[in-house]
Amino acid sequence: MAFMRVLVVEDDPTIASFVVKGLQQAGFAVDHAADGERGLTLATSEPYQVAIVDLMLPGRDGLSVIEALRRRNINTPVLILSAKRSVDDRVKGLQRGGDDYLTKPFAFPELLARVQALIRRASAGTIEPTRMTVGDLELDVLSRQVTRGGHRIELRPREFALLEYLMRNAGKVVSKTMVMSHIWGFSFDPRTNVVDVLVHRLREKIDKDFPVKLLHTVRGIGCVLKVE
């Protein structure tokens, strides 16, 4: 992957440092602006693959930063961060030139996944692999076959979908909300954790009979598929 630059425009120092550090660990080069004016200056002078923009900013607010960018024909994908969660606010953000919308509070893996999705979308033409491997676990998207250490594993459609999702995001933590919307298309969180049940079932099939565990739960955040 080429060297990726991300701009974070966020006035809250705690959230900003949380996002900046997380993105740096994920291999991005990150610039931070604490207000809208500075953010706009950076976004217009430097090439970024993605800009993460908070809506409530001192001075120039996030929406106006995005509008100013779009007026200058700068098409850097923008991920809006906001504490406003209503549908109308989301729609407004996207209509004014935002590319995605994430409500505060958020789990970092979700932010990361969305940033990566925006980059993928911008660099169109990237072909997603149809065969993926994590450790001795293999998945073939076309033949819908899963093997571990050469042993064939039978998965149900939803389990297969979850495994495919986890393998595409191998090594990255995937939040319950992400699984929920990816597998069922549900955007809200029913209290009983149906995600836990699905993860549990998948783990039974891919990990139970093997000494090396691949599917790990990260408490309070979600789960991750990786070789420890």
């Binding site: 955007s187 209290r191 309070g220 955040i221």
Partner: protein, 466 residues
């Protein structure tokens, strides 16, 4: 404020001027007409007196000559208070007889000495030289060429009219007075509702208290109706503000418990010397707890919005069978895990106009409960039915059931029955279900028997109220 009172004054001023103008104008017209008619009829009466006297004196003169005429006139002067000019002109217009009140000398009698055809009566009007009075003189020429003239000055009726004018002036003055004060009072009285309205609005704006109301009179006129409508509007705003303030208080209160829990986890971890793994656990607990706080906040906001009518519903036709299939799919694994059989019986043609994702939330919450509280080996069923004006959707389970004493309370926010405390949950699911269903203009009911199971039935109208 200034603008309001300016408008009011202008309107009041205009109304008062119109009222007084109309009142005074019509009075002036009526009085003027009376004056004219009176003056005309007085003139008519004078002429009749002159004519009848002329006839009488002519007859006396014919029968008894000048002497008889003289006698009659002397007698008349004593008995009648009418003063008259009586003149007899000879053939060559020389005065044979002349009788006129002394103060009438301002009239020039030569003007009525012109020749005249015999047997006719002719009228002439003489104008006084000093006063503005006039004298009408009637002449009769007899067959012998003698002319008898009788005249009467307008001084009498002028005097009467002067007196009448004084009276009329007094009357007019009082009419104007009555008109203006009446106009002012009338305007003041009829603008009272508007003033009341302004007062109420001003009170609310200045004090911020919504309790001010516009007094109404039950007169059913337009202004009274406006007052009543305005009061209704205020009532509605008042109750909305009350509800929002109430839900804000509730949210603040409800968030304190999980926040306290969050704090205590963090404090406990901070104050104890623990291994890194234990601290990790505490942090994960914090994370989960904060997730609960956010979920709770979101749900409470949803409930508040739905209850106060501010929830935005994106209404569209929703096929119930699709909705049920999607939701059952969500819980399929969970039900299988718990060995709960799920059956659905929803006719394909059933559909409602509703907010799809909100309705899915309703169904998911009901199914969530059903799966949660049904022991392994149990069953749950979802059925859809058409009713007279809509559809019902019921979620039935063979779960632990709800005791009769707890049934009415299941809709309360954060209420958790004795049996449900052991399960994870916020205690907000059913409140949200009811709030969303009611926001759609529908209703939700529960029937339950402990140990046998519960049935939740959602009734929605085909045409939502909104």
């Amino acid at each position: 404020m200034a603008r309001g009172s300016f408008l009011r004054d202008t309107l009041g001023y205009r109304l008062a001027v119109w009222y007084a103008g109309l009142f005074v104008g019509s009075s002036v017209f009526v009085i003027g007409l009376t004056y004219f008619l009176l003056s005309a009829s007085l003139e008519q009466r004078d002429r009749e007196i002159v004519l009848s006297s002329l006839a009488k004196y002519t007859q006396e003169y014919r029968q008894g000559g000048l002497a008889a005429l003289n006698r009659v006139i002397s007698a008349d002067r004593l008995t009648l208070d009418e003063r008259l000019l009586v003149r007899v002109l000879g053939r060559r217009a020389e005065a044979i007889f002349y009788n006129m009140p002394a103060d009438w000398d301002e009239f020039d009698l030569r003007d009525v000495e012109a020749p005249q055809a015999p047997g006719t009566v002719s009228w002439a009007r003489l104008r006084g030289r000093r006063s503005g009075a006039v004298m009408d003189v009637a002449s009769f020429r007899m067959s012998d060429g003698t002319r008898l003239q009788v005249g009467k000055s307008s001084e009498n009726r002028a005097e009467l009219l002067v007196r009448f004018r004084t009276i009329v002036l007094l009357v007019l003055l009082s009419v104007v007075l009555v008109g203006v004060t009446g106009g002012a009072l009338f305007t003041y009285a009829s603008l009272q509702p508007i003033r009341d309205l302004s007062t109420a609005v001003r009170t609310i704006l200045q004090t911020g208290r919504m309790s001010a109301r516009v007094p109404t009179r039950n007169t059913d006129d337009a202004l009274d109706e406006l007052s009543v409508l305005f009061n209704t509007l205020l009532d509605r705003i008042d109750s909305l503000i009350g509800a929002m303030r109430g839900s804000l208080d509730n949210v603040a209160h409800d968030l304190r418990t999980p926040m306290t829990r969050l704090r205590s986890i963090a404090e406990t971890a901070l104050h104890s010397e623990q291994r890194p793994e234990a601290l990790r656990e505490a942090l994960a607990d914090c994370l989960e707890e904060s997730e609960r706080v956010v979920a709770m906040l979101d749900t409470l906001m949803d409930i508040s919005e739905a209850e106060t009518g501010t929830m935005k519903l994106h209404l569209e036709p929703v096929r119930l069978a699709d909705l049920v299939r999607e939701t059952v799919e969500l819980y399929a694994d969970l039900a299988e895990e718990k060995n709960v059989t799920v059956t659905t019986n929803v006719p394909v043609e059933l559909s409602v106009v509703a907010d799809r994702s909100r309705l899915r939330q309703v169904l998911a919450n009901l199914m969530d409960n059903a799966v949660k509280y049904t022991p392994p080996g149990g069953r749950m069923g979802i059925e859809g039915h058409r009713t007279a004006d809509g559809v019902t959707l019921s979620v039935q389970d063979t779960g632990i059931g709800i005791p009769a004493t707890e049934l009415p309370r299941v809709w309360e926010r954060l209420y958790r029955g004795d049996q449900s405390r052991s399960e994870r949950g916020l205690g907000l699911g059913l409140s949200l279900v009811r709030a969303i269903v009611q926001a759609h203009g529908g209703r939700v009911e529960v029937s339950s028997e402990p140990g046998v199971g519960s049935t939740f039935t959602v009734t929605l109208s085909s045409r939502p109220v909104k």
